[in-house]
Structures are given as C-alpha cells and as structure tokens.
C-alpha cells in the first residue's frame, strides 16, 4: 500500500494548485474593487431600526428612497445608528455592514443603461422588522 501513497500527494498538489488559482482570481477581483475611482459622489447612508436614511453631498436627505443618476460613480459612507445592519443592493452587488461607531465605505459605478427601480435591503439580522427593512433605489437617466 505504501507506494500508492504518492498518488495522494499528487492529488494534494493538484488541489493546492487549484486553490492558488482561486485565491489569485479572488485577490485580483477584490483589488480592482478596492480602489475608489477619483471622480465620485459621496452619499452618506445611515441604517437604524428599521429604515434607511440617505444624505446627498448637497445636504438633501431622503428616507426610504434613494435617487441616483445612471453613469456616475458613487461612494457610500455607511454607518449604523443603533444596532448592526447591512446595506445591500442585490442588483449592483453592494453589500457592507452598517456598524455603529464605524463608517464603512463601498463604491459603485451605476451603468448607463441601468435606469429603473431597484431593491435596497438590510442583510444583517437587526431585530423585529429586519425582514421589512427595505428601501427603493431609483436610478434616473
């Protein structure tokens, strides 16, 4: 049996190679998403039980609805007021926790052709109405 153990190590080598490839791909993707592009508009997002508040750079505040423009780059500065929430727009793959006492940032370029209405939701358990902590994202041309 002993001589056959070499197959196990070959197999482990193949698994490790595959994992290195997975890690490299993931690292590359994350690196691309990490750097915030220079021309961006900052939106301040606050999550609290159980609604979202958005503040535009000009000081305009919106509750439960967020208006963005297609083709622009937005940076969200996200925080929580009471407990931990998670700011999530499934359609644009945006997801980061809203933690009290911290500001997390995430950015997105809204594509030109993305005009429409999208769901914003909370993805971290935050109590009674967690299931219904939703908001509307309206992308305008």
């Amino acid at each position: 049996m002993g001589s056959h153990v070499i197959y196990e190590w070959i197999y482990v080598g193949a698994v490790v190679s595959l994992l290195i490839w997975v890690g490299a791909e993931a690292w590359y993707g994350e690196k691309l998403l990490h750097e915030v592009p220079k021309d961006h508009i900052t939106i301040k997002v606050t999550g609290q039980q159980w609604f979202w508040t958005f503040e535009h750079p000009d000081g305009k505040r919106e509750v439960g609805t967020l208006h963005l423009q297609a083709g622009k780059v937005y940076k969200f500065e996200i925080t929580g007021k009471d407990v931990i929430h998670a700011f999530n727009i499934p359609h644009f793959a945006i997801m980061i926790d809203a933690v009290p006492g911290r500001v997390n940032t995430i950015w997105v370029k809204i594509p030109e052709d993305a005009v429409g209405e999208y769901l914003i939701q909370c993805r971290e358990y935050c109590g009674l109405l967690h299931y219904n902590m939703r908001a509307n994202l309206i992308v305008e041309a």
Binding site: M1, V12, V15, I84, P100, G127, L128, L129, Y131
Partner: protein
C-alpha cells in the same frame, strides 16, 4: 451497556451512574431528543416561508425566537452532546481502559448540559445564535437573552470539562501496549477536537461575560458610545466558532474512518495522512475566523490574510475525501445503513466544501454574505455531512447500545428521504440566496422565482421530516423489539465489533 428493555434497570441507576456507557447513553438520548425538537422548529420555519406573508407564525418576533432556538439547539444540544456520547461510549473501549479518566467529572459535565439546555428552551431568546451586539446588549428582550447567555456559558463549561476528560483518558489511560499510532482514527479525531475545544472556547466564554456586563450596563465593551466596538465581539465570537466548525466536523470524519474500512473490508488507505490532516487542520483551523466577517469593513490586507487562511484548510479535507475513496477502491463494500449514510455524507461534503471555497473568494462575498446561500452552505455541512455521518454511526452503534438489530428496510427509507430532502432543500437555499434573499427573515419579497425556490426548499424539508419519522420509529420500536443481534459481528462483514461485555457498572 446493553439496555434490556424487557428487564429494565431502575431509571435512577442510569441517571446517577458515573459509568461511561451510562453517561454516554444519557448524552445520546439527550442529543437525539433535541435533534428532533430542533428539526420540528426547522419545519416550522420552512412552513412559514412556504408563502410570502403570514403562513403559520403570526409575527416576526416569534419567528426570530424560533430560528435562534433552532440554531442554538442544533449546534449545542444535538451535535456537541452526540460527539460526547459517542466519545464516552467508545473512547474507553478503543484505548482499552475500564472507564473515562474522571468518571465523576464526566457525569458532572453531562448534568451541566441539562440546566444549559433548560435555560435556552425556557428563555426563547431572539438574539440569533450569534448574538451580535449592540442588538444583543441593547435591544434584545430580557430575561430571554440573559438566559441564553447563561445557558451557553454552562454548556461551554460542560464542553471544556468533557474535553479535559477525553484528553486525559486518551493520553494517560491508554493501554501501554497500544501505541498511539495503532489506535482508531476516531480516537485521534476526539483528541484533536478536545484540544481545539480547550484552545478555542475560553475566548467565547470571556465574550459572554463581556456581553452580560454590557447588558447590565456596567461596562461598554461593545458599545461605541462608551468607547467600545461591536466588531470586537465578532472577532472573539468567531475566534471560537470557526475552530468550532472543525470541532463539529472532525469527529464525523473520525467516525467515517471507523466505518469505511469495516464496510469496505479493507484497511485504511493511508492512516498516516489521516493523522497529519487532523493535526494540521487543528492548527490551520484557527487562521480563518474572520472570513465570517468579510462584510464588516475589514481592510484589504485583513481580507486577503483570512482568505488565504480559509483556502489553506481545504487540502486537509480533500485529503480525507481521497483517503475514504481510496479505501473503498478495490474493496467489497456492504451497503448497510451506516455505510449509506457515510457515502451520502461524503457526497454532500464535497458540495458544501466547494460552496465554501466559492464563498471565500472575496468579491463573491458581496453576493452571498448573509443570504440564504450561506444558510444552504453551512446546513449542507452540518446536516448533510456531520449529521448524516452521525446518524450512520448511530445505526452502527445500535447493536452495541441495545443488543438488538435495527430494521434495515426502515433505515433505508430514512436514508433516501433524508438524502434527497437534504439535497433538495439546501440546493434550493443556495440558489435563492443568489437572488438576494437575506437570511433570518420572516417574510420575503413576493417575487415568483423566490416564492418557487422557497416552496421547493420547504418540500425538501418535509421529505427530511418523513425520513426522521422513520428514524424515530426505528430507534424506539427496534430498541424494544428488534431481533437480537449477533454481538460478535452484527453486520455480517467479518470485522471485529466493539467489546460489548461492559455490562456491569463498577461504581
């Protein structure tokens, strides 16, 4: 210890015994009872999610309490006591000692689990089993959350006592003529997990105290208004509970190593690589905890480090799978119920493992984190692999415990319903997660795809439920009137069975 239901011993004799088989029996019965109760809660959850809006549970508060108790029960009152039960039964037999090293401590560890379980089930906390502050410290309703904290505290201490007992039994009480490298791999699995328990659990125990003082308002460890940080709790929590994932998994791996060579009638392909994989994983398992927190705003470097740590643990599991398949290769496999469950477990283990690798690739976290994808992923592991191998092992131990044989036909019904149900429900959960359905929600967006996938998942859950009814019937009926087993080789595989002649408790 063979229970002769025809000539029962007085109940108090089992309850107050310190003999390892009696304590093991108590552990096993407790764990199976809570497995069924937790399963009933799971079916309630699936029924509620069958349609959008109220289906069965009137309000979100009750729903939140149900999934909290379901999670806590399945992890701490099914998997952990089952491991202790099997360990208590078999470790003294496998290391050829008369009992556990500290029989009284053993009984104490079991009896601590009872008030722990009572606190969780009487409290009905709504914190979720992770109990993230500030929700758990500031908003969660007392006394339920306080009872949850104390319940977990007691269960944690019980685990630590059990772990100490296993380590001493294996290392100090092993028969001198039995070298460590000749013991069963199940012994290695229990040894490694016990050591991991000792290293990992104190962190959570400390975090629970901090959580409680925060709830009392005398400290602000996790309160940003008082200079604390909620994320600190998550680090403490996952530092315990990522290794805990391997504490749940490795005994199942050890049990698979116990069953596969016997039912394939071949020696283990490579005993050494099994031991190496156990030992390496017990160290690497501590290097990946923050992959549960990739969305909390970690820096790029932290994310990379924990992704690498996570990927580094994969080859060890892959080695086990290779070892199992190479052991079966060229064997003469008997597909009795234990072997069926193990092979089903291996199939689902690959699925959950591959899902885990996909999960950890950083940008995918934006898609999958805290969705039903994650729920599907870890249930595939805990139900599909760990619980499957546990149930298979319970069938294997059935003659040892009862002196009788289970009904192979009903066990077959159990297996197929459970296997198909598990595959259906958790695959559907993976997919519904990709549609962005968050976990822990009482109601979801009434989108046709999401509704359909939830209904498929619920049907899968009912299939598991039918399988579990068959399981219960086998357990109860056949331990009372199953036909007596041939105790030397109950499965007819030409392999030695465990020493069953431990009838008389010596205390």
């Amino acid at each position: 210890m063979v229970i002769e239901i025809a000539k029962p011993r007085p109940l108090w004799q089992i309850l107050f015994s310190t003999h390892h088989t009696d304590v093991a029996l108590l552990y096993l019965i407790t764990s199976i009872v809570f497995f069924m109760l937790g399963g009933a809660l799971a079916l309630t959850i699936r029924t509620e999610l069958l349609t959008p809006g109220t289906t069965m549970i009137g309000d979100a508060d009750l729903f939140n309490r149900i999934f909290t108790v379901h999670g806590t029960t399945m992890l701490f009152l099914w998997i952990l006591p089952f491991i202790s039960g099997v360990g208590n039964y078999l470790i003294p037999i496998l290391v050829k000692y008369k009992d556990m090293a500290y029989p009284r401590l053993n009984a104490v560890a079991y009896w601590m689990a009872v008030p722990g379980a009572a606190l969780i089930w009487l409290g009905w906390s709504d914190t979720s089993w992770m109990a993230y502050p500030p929700y758990s410290t500031m908003r969660a309703a007392g006394p339920a959350a306080d009872m949850w904290i104390f319940g977990l505290k007691i269960l944690g201490l019980s685990s630590i006592l059990g772990a100490i007992n296993f380590i001493v039994t294996i290392l100090k009480c092993k028969h001198p003529d039995l070298p460590m490298m000749k013991t069963s791999l199940l012994v290695w699995a229990i040894l490694v997990t016990s050591m991991m328990t000792l290293a990992a659990l104190p962190t959570f125990t400390a975090a629970l105290i901090m959580l409680y003082t925060d709830r009392l308002g005398v400290s602000g460890f996790f309160d940003p208004a008082r200079g604390g940080d909620p994320i600190a709790y998550q680090h403490l929590f996952w530092f315990t509970f990522h290794p805990e994932v391997y504490i749940f998994l490795l005994p199942a791996v050890g049990m698979a190593y116990e069953l596969i060579p016997k039912f394939s009638r071949k020696p283990i392909f490579s005993y050494g690589s099994g031991v190496i994989a156990f030992l390496v994983l017990s160290i690497i398992g501590f290097a990946s905890w923050a992959h549960h927190m990739l969305a909390t705003g970690l820096t790029f470097t932290e994310k990379t480090v924990f992704m690498v740590g996570t990927l580094a643990a994969v080859p060890m599991s892959a080695m086990h799978v290779f070892n199992w398949m190479a052991t079966m290769w060229g064997g003469r496999i008997k597909f009795a119920a234990p072997m069926k469950f193990v092979i089903g477990g291996i199939m689902l283990f690959f699925t959950s493992g591959a899902g885990g690798v996909v999960n950890t690739t950083l940008p995918l976290d934006f898609i999958t984190h805290d969705t039903y994808w994650v729920v599907g992923h870890f249930h595939m592991m805990l139900m599909g692999t760990v619980s499957f191998i546990f149930m298979g092992f319970l069938y294997y131990m059935f003659p040892l415990i009862t002196g009788r044989m289970y009904s192979e036909r009903l066990a077959n019904v159990h297996f197929w319903f459970a296997f198909i149900g598990t595959a259906v429900v958790f695959t559907a959960m993976h997919i519904v997660g990709l549609y962005g359905m968050p976990r822990r929600i009482w109601d979801y967006v009434p989108d046709p795809t999401i509704i359909a996938l939830n209904q498929i998942a619920s049907i899968g859950a009912y299939l598991i439920g039918i399988g579990m009814i068959a399981f219960l019937i086998v357990l109860i009926r056949d331990s009372i009137k199953g036909k007596p087993a041939d105790m030397r080789d109950p499965f007819g595989i030409g392999e030695i069975y465990y020493d069953y002649r431990r009838r008389e408790p010596h205390h």
